[in-house]
Symmetry: C2
Subunit: 348 residues, 2 copies
């Protein structure tokens, strides 16, 4: 069998060591390593450790700042207009969401809108931080174009994800969804495997439905619910591109191709302190009642269990912590290669 099983702590430490070779401070390098490994363990491999080489190249080229900094352009107790100063997106994400959480402890809610940021990984990671501190969390980000407005054949909005998280007794409930039916990554996989894709995933460059992934990657990703997903993706750009004053869709520089110009991504982070509305224990008990009722609903034939959003992903994650993370040869070798380039011994 090809592939490797690696320990999550060792993998986190290795990525963190790599980042530090480029001047990322130890605690910030740790944030990035933890995020990438967490995404890998959640099964969100598109945002997992395979991103390491791209982040390393961006750091090495100096297109993103190695040391985290920020500036507050405007604020009240409940809102912050945050300039991320072209810092690493994941560090900005953790710091900005914690700022929202801390302020919400006073005011009940806080919205931090950040510009001049970079790709920050899984939006759900930041929403989850709030839920793990007894709050409702919301996180959205814009991204380079992949979705066309309804009626157009040209992408404008990114797949602009929306993440929501709520505490319960145990693991929080997290929704972390792109506003497209599937991620572009699924087309790339189908291309590699020479398989067709279901109708409803992508449109050709002429805006026609297609089952050919080769046509799909040249075209656009279909938004969920047609004009509804267009609207959701558009509003993510309104919040992250306009309220946060970052770029909108096509003006944003692509992290894969452009190693000269900063991305200027925008994010919004919102934390809502449940205890300001009602006792947290009352909230979580009502959550448990609802979840128990949903799990007891009649199942469609062949369905073993009804899951909460991210319940399956949390189970995957916990298994990976116990049993190790499976990495394909290609990913493992690419990571090893990074160690060779930047002079870090890979002990995983």
């Amino acid at each position: 069998m090809s592939g490797h099983i690696v320990n999550h702590e060792a993998l986190t430490a290795y990525i963190s060591d790599l980042m530090q070779t480029q001047g990322v401070p130890a605690d910030e390098a740790r944030i990035i390593g933890e995020h990438l490994v967490e995404a890998e363990m959640f099964g969100v491999t598109s945002h997992g450790v395979s991103r390491t080489s791209t982040y390393m190249k961006r750091l090495h080229e100096g297109v993103v700042n190695a040391k985290w900094s920020y500036r507050i352009d405007a604020e009240t107790q409940s809102i912050v207009k945050w300039d991320a100063c072209n810092s690493m997106g994941m560090v900005t994400g953790v710091k900005a969401m914690q700022e929202a959480i801390d302020r919400a402890k006073e005011s009940g809610i806080c919205l931090v809108a950040a510009n001049h940021s970079n790709h920050f990984g899984m939006a759900g990671y930041y929403a989850r931080m709030a839920a793990e501190q007894g709050m409702l969390g919301i996180c959205i980000t814009n991204a380079p174009p992949n979705i066309a407005p309804t009626g157009s054949s040209r992408a404008y909005m990114g797949t602009n994800p929306i993440a929501l998280a709520a505490p319960r007794n145990g693991r929080p409930v997290i929704l972390d969804m792109a506003t497209s039916v599937v991620a572009m990554g699924k087309l790339v996989v189908a291309q590699k495997l020479g398989k067709s894709i279901p109708e409803g995933w992508a449109l050709t460059a002429e805006g026609k439905p297609t089952t050919d992934p080769n046509e799909g990657v040249k075209g656009t990703m279909m938004p969920i619910g047609g004009y509804k997903g267009y609207g959701l993706a558009l509003f993510v750009d309104i919040f992250c591109g306009i309220l946060a004053d970052a770029e909108t869709g096509p003006h944003m520089n692509n992290l894969w191709h452009d190693f000269v110009n900063p991305q200027n991504v925008g994010h919004c982070f919102c934390a809502i302190d449940i205890s300001k509305f009602l006792p947290l224990s009352y909230f979580t008990e009502k959550m448990e009642r609802m979840i128990a009722e949903i799990k007891a609903l009649p199942k469609i034939e062949g369905v073993p269990e009804i899951y909460m959003p991210e319940e399956i992903e949390f189970a995957k994650r916990d298994r990976a912590v116990q049993e190790g993370i499976p990495l394909a040869d290609a990913i493992y070798n690419e990571l090893a290669e990074q160690g060779g380039i930047y002079g870090v011994e890979m002990k995983i």
Copy 2:
């Protein structure tokens, strides 16, 4: 040709007069009349003047309180836990969103979470209020069950709509979407016309895809994007049923069938004061730039124009204000009948 063309002002006044016969104060009756007529003019006829008879019956039976009242259970400058005291949903909606807007002028953001409310019509109406006052508006509400969690054949969540609004120069951009692919009303129409429905709208009572509207109305409405729409509808219930402390899905009493027990619907209203982040004129200019760019994108063959969310509906509305509102005979006659029952002369 059957049908009537009626003046919007006369129609509003007539509905307002009807409501006042049941003890609704004049200014509150006006809010309800304006809302129903606005929905009718927007083409959201499912939430339009055909609802008048149900609202009248609920007022007459005393299952909803005729006079608006509310109680604040908990508050900061930026959040309000609002008890709607079983008032008419549309009056609560206008008052609660205005409260959110007024507080956001100080704090930059305010979230009002209301329980013990009733059906409040179009969520987009309240989000629009914020946009018309230079703010970003968000409004969500839960509703009786219509959507099944992924894997179940039984509905739990309502079609739980999400509304978002943003100011621009001129009419705001508004997204007002149910989290189901289509509203249940579309199945009822297909039933009446003896037509089949597209696959992807509804599931049978066994959770199987169907193109038969008769099977669909006995089953559940499909959420947008599969598990994504399930997650969105679930989070609307978390915010409106649990944070706001109203009922969740199946515990909510149905406004069409139950004229004894209050509904206990929950809503959330959020206003974000853009001027606390950056100058409003800068925001609206960036909105206009984005909209101009989207409208200039290449169009799919046969598409005359790329529209912003609700742009078409605003055009319909403005035409109806100028030229009158077309009402089908059945709707017109039902309205006339209400006048007979409650002793109000219909002059429309």
